[in-house]
Symmetry: D2
Subunit: 424 residues, 4 copies
């Protein structure tokens, strides 16, 4: 898909400059008592999952403006995801959305093997109606007032587990759009009772080595209330269901001004942090590219994660979840994967012993300065060197553009107009 020559050629042009930057950074970090190779090794070992739906162009309720060469099915999507991993060496797995990506397990496994990718968490979809569906989700799914509709939603989730089991996935992510648009439309208590009951049925079908990831969101598509509206409700769900149930944090699903890194810390402290959907936002669930709006917030989340790494059992799942409305999705996902790595690398640079000391002394100024020193460091040479050593691209976007991949697939895949792809 991407000619090795292309990578080699573009890397060759940038390698000398990179080595100079890398060496200078290494010397600088050495003066700070940090071994650059150790950081590079950790970054190189870090991988983040790509959402299958992310490689299509997203849209809003107003319009979707298709891009060229959009994937026609899950196999095209896997091709695109493979390009991302080929050039970044940062995205070894893909998260599927069912029924959008429903195909025979054998075909999925064979394609994944072909392109060198694994499957991350399965995502169920009970926020849209499918053509052949017996009961509509217009008024809810797992929390619907009608038992048959809830049953249908439960069964769909169980089918997702079943397919996931066959393709090596180890987690099911549940996000529902259930809620209400009017005060009084729903009884909050009975609705949540129904949700818990249905979710328990899904949980009971979960293999022992799986995790059920419950995802909260403040609003949209429901605009007055949402059944899993915040981490408080999400925590109640994870507590009620059991040890295999954990909370998934999507960075864009909170109320304005909320301190997200603190939610990450709380869920971690109580063993209920299951994973992330990374993206960025300025207003609502904007699903913008990770780190594009507030990179320091992303760093502060990773600060918590590095803090928690001390516990060997701590292992939340990481996934990108974005809507690419005005960029080439492959480019956005490549950049976003590196932004996540960047925040991780910066967090690794923080002098944690010094930080803890300043915290104990209530030396707020030096504590925050210590933290920010990690953020301030330009770790791009570390990320680029990790890519180079993994055979990926020093500059993924330049290499991708040089490869002509988009034009090539545009010839094979006809443009699809129409409305937005679902973005969780």
């Amino acid at each position: 898909m991407i000619e090795p020559d292309i990578i080699e050629q573009t890397n060759d042009k940038a390698a000398a400059s990179l080595r100079a930057d890398y060496d200078a950074l290494g010397e600088h970090l050495d003066r700070r008592g940090i071994d650059i190779a150790t950081v590079k090794h950790k970054v190189a070992s870090y991988g983040i999952a790509v959402p299958s739906w992310g490689v299509g162009t997203g849209g809003t309720r107003f319009a979707r403006f298709p891009g060229a060469g959009e994937p026609r099915d899950v196999f095209d999507k896997l091709d695109d995801c493979a390009v991302i991993h080929r050039l970044t060496a940062a995205t070894p797995s893909v998260s599927l959305h069912i029924p959008w990506d429903a195909q025979p397990a054998a075909d999925l496994n064979s394609k994944a093997e072909e392109v060198g990718l694994a499957f991350d968490a399965m995502n169920s979809n009970t926020f849209q109606d499918q053509p052949d569906q017996a009961h509509s989700y217009k008024f809810g799914s797992l929390s619907h007032t009608d038992a048959a509709t809830r049953r249908q939603a439960v069964d769909h989730n169980i089918a997702c587990i079943e397919l996931g089991r066959q393709i090596g996935s180890k987690a099911l992510t549940i996000w529902v759009g259930d809620g209400s648009n009017f005060p009084g439309q729903t009884n909050f208590t009975r609705q949540f009772g129904r949700y818990l009951d249905a979710a328990t049925q899904v949980y009971d079908a979960l293999p022992d080595d799986w995790t059920l990831l419950s995802e909260h969101k403040m609003y949209e598509p429901a605009f007055y209330s949402t059944v899993v509206q915040d981490w408080g409700t999400n925590l109640l769900i994870a507590q009620q269901l059991g040890d295999k149930a954990k909370c998934l944090v999507d960075l864009g699903h909170h109320a304005p001004n909320v301190n997200i890194e603190m939610i990450v810390a709380r869920l971690t402290q109580f063993g209920k942090l299951g994973g992330f959907h990374f993206n960025d936002s300025k207003y609502g669930d904007d699903d913008l590219d990770t780190g594009s709006i507030d990179p320091y917030r992303l760093f502060l989340v990773f600060n918590e994660l590095v803090e928690a790494e001390a516990d060997p059992d701590f292992d939340p799942m990481h996934m990108l979840d974005q809507s690419h409305n005005v960029t080439d999705p492959i480019e956005s996902l490549m950049i976003s994967a590196t932004e996540v790595q960047r925040a991780y690398a910066q967090a690794l640079l923080v002098d944690r012993a010094a930080l803890a000391g300043f915290q104990d002394d209530n030396d707020a100024l030096m504590a925050t300065t210590t933290l920010k020193r990690g953020f301030r460091t330009d770790v791009e040479p570390i990320l680029a060197m990790a890519r180079l050593e993994a055979g990926a691209a020093i500059d993924p976007v330049t290499t991708y553009r040089a490869s002509g991949y988009r034009a090539r697939v545009a010839n094979e895949r006809p443009a699809v107009s129409g409305a937005g792809g679902g973005i969780v």
Copy 2:
């Protein structure tokens, strides 16, 4: 469409109760020095426009769940709008969206005459691409970097004026989705310069007795910046274009916590309040039914409007603009029209001389109590009596349901699935 018998029958059942309530309220208001008939007369004279697109079921970027009997074209929409006006006597005009509603003027006029409706402001659409369009609006329309795309958007607006002129409209509402999703994607200053230049071209084509209504919105579909993001920018536009250019306030287009009634007051004070898009919201541009989330805020807006009525030249346009995702749009629009009337009637009850006195004395408690006394009064008997006397329904929803209209049109109009209708 609605059998007069149905209206008569349902009214008959409710009339005695209404008369008792109306008389009791009349006596109560008389004790407060208010003549109920005067208020009723003002309410009966009040009309609000219905958006043609509002009678279809709305949706979100995640899904649209169609309703039964949705209108297939503008003529079906006018039928539905006529039902709303027939039962509420509150919505004498319809606002068209072009190209969605583009039809020969003669056909539009003939249908409007048939159903007894007039045409309110014209709405242009440069936030979606049409199948046969030369230039895409993916990266903007009136503010696009490409001159030909801007020209296309200008021409479309001028075509809207031309059609509107033939069907008796007197205003063009411009709302664009132009903006950006990334810091740096656009140069704010040059983008706004292009916008002003293009808008001036549209303005120059405006008939002398027309108003150009410019609509601001904080975000969506653009998620980092929007070219007409708030009333400050909107004011600059109206100032730059000229006297016929005014600002339109959509209640859902502001930042969290913003005091909207104050914006209404400011624009009124400086002669730049052109009109409203009424709806309600809890989170973003939720486009919920007017008055369904925060009825007091709606009242406070009408408090400003009643305050400004003293000026005989003050005449902003009023329109509903909502997305009906989980209700029958006809029912929602009927209720919303009465909610607007309710806020107007409540604002009329405020003892303005007493209020002004308390304000001058800085008697905050009595001032707010005086205002709230108007809001607290249950004016439903006034609204219902105005409807009854106009030959409409005491209880529009009950009457509508009894009429079987929805089932009837559902037989004639096939269901349309797919993604959301555009809501401005």
Copy 3:
């Protein structure tokens, strides 16, 4: 303090009008199948606690503009609170703040008996330093890094319990300002661990028939993070401490746009709703008069409470908590107490069987209309009649002003300038 004659005289002027309004409302409600006397009885039985600090004029960090005749100590405060109850018959108890109100229990009991009031929840204060205090709370109290400071804060809370036990209180409300102003200033996890440890020590000192009310708040006085920032963290606290620990909801302590009534429902469902601090807000923790900004939101909270009343064990504590910066605090508290009663009465009018039916049928429009019909009803005659029958004032503010109370105490109590009183 308030001459009975004054009440009688002002009531006499308003009684005829009230009786006419009450009778008309009674007939109207009768047509809706509601017995007005039953509602009036429930309203008359409802009482809400007044905060002792609420009768002083509040302020902001910028300034405090003192009012005339402000209370000099807790005994003056109890006099003022007694006026509120005398005129509204709605505020039978007072909530004390320690050390502001620390006085010998015998003196407090004797004064309370004299003015006919009881004591509600005790409030501890570890967000300010007292002159003779060994350790400063500048960097926290129950969660401070220093063990001696935490111990001091624990001891203070235990002292509050001890005093409360002697004056008949049955609850301790804990609100702390602990948090941080800079990313990195504190380690979220260790800080919360310390908080839980200290709170457990307080909990262990709680009598068996007491409730520990934990209060969350998003921000202020800490502006980057707050240790008990939301109901999720608050829930964890209540779960960790035990059955006697419950969550207190202050209406102004949430992120923008948050659905507070839903939090009320969740905490109720899981047996952890302990009580309320009622007030209203537009921006942050504005501590404005209850119901003055968004009365429908207040109603929606009471809708949940009436819904939950079916459970005989459901008995959260109700308290006003406001900052009166530009009004006479007595007047504001009287009006606010009636606003709470109003929301309660309106919620009682909702046809719950019909509502449940519409909810089951997903008839969103009729469900919300049913709810709003309760809100729309002007229940003032019910509240006023309940007051009249209890010997209180039909119109508390008019009567209060006629009484000359404020001028009288202004003669006795010298004005105090300076900065704002603490408002929790």
Copy 4:
């Protein structure tokens, strides 16, 4: 105040490391086509004003926790400000607040000369009552309903101009707390009319070479409405008053989620950007240290400023305005001054020709990547070298701590407890 030896000694320890970092950065920037010396020169020429009140410990409405050695008067404040400039070479001027800093002009000038500082904008205070004041500002100042109160506020502003004229200031900043706490408390239109009338009187007293800076703020100390609530109203003021009137943007005075850099761009485009109050915030007007919460937002503001530098007449005033509640104010102001310089330096690194090209091509990904590359670069060596070359400290905080200044002044200046200092 700060021994030159101390600076020299601490600089000596850090100089070698700095030179290595600076050289490495110079080589890196050279590869990007940027001359590091040019950037350093611009940074070295940049200065930001310090607010006199910023060197005292701030507080909240709940409490103020004093620090050691707080300044007792404006002369102490100027000493502290001199330390900041001595160690950073970035803060050559001080902005006074009247009447807090009111002293004979000769004394102020003599002290300023002694410590080597100039005076920036004058700040009037009509949001607090002074002991000897005839009329209270409890219900407003420039917009008060009472003419004598407005006159008093006008006269105070004119007195500020008069004093400023004698000490070399060239600007008056007006911020008022006028607004309301209840719907109906004030008539928005009449209140704003009064404000404009009074502000015009102040404007008329302005020397020809002065600027009147009008500052908007969404809320606080007024919690329902504020007379100059946003940049829209601020723009109207600047337009009404005349050419010498411009808008001041405080980064913390906006609604949640608002795009502040866009407001900066709009005001610049229409010639009405007058200056800044820099700080940072997460929730409301938190007045946290500049760049401590969202450094990328600060960078995006400076991106606009660098963009506008092309116009030689563009010269907005820059000032810090923060409340230091938990840090040593001198340390916070030193760090904040360097954070502002950092954002400026990063913005200078942006390849503007490339950026403009990507913008014209709607290459959103490369545009934002180009912008972010500037932000990502660690410019600390440039800032530190500029300081070193100016005889200031490579590491201002370390040097300051080594100097023992705080302990020294703590001996001379007794601690002051009590409530918060006013922060605009």
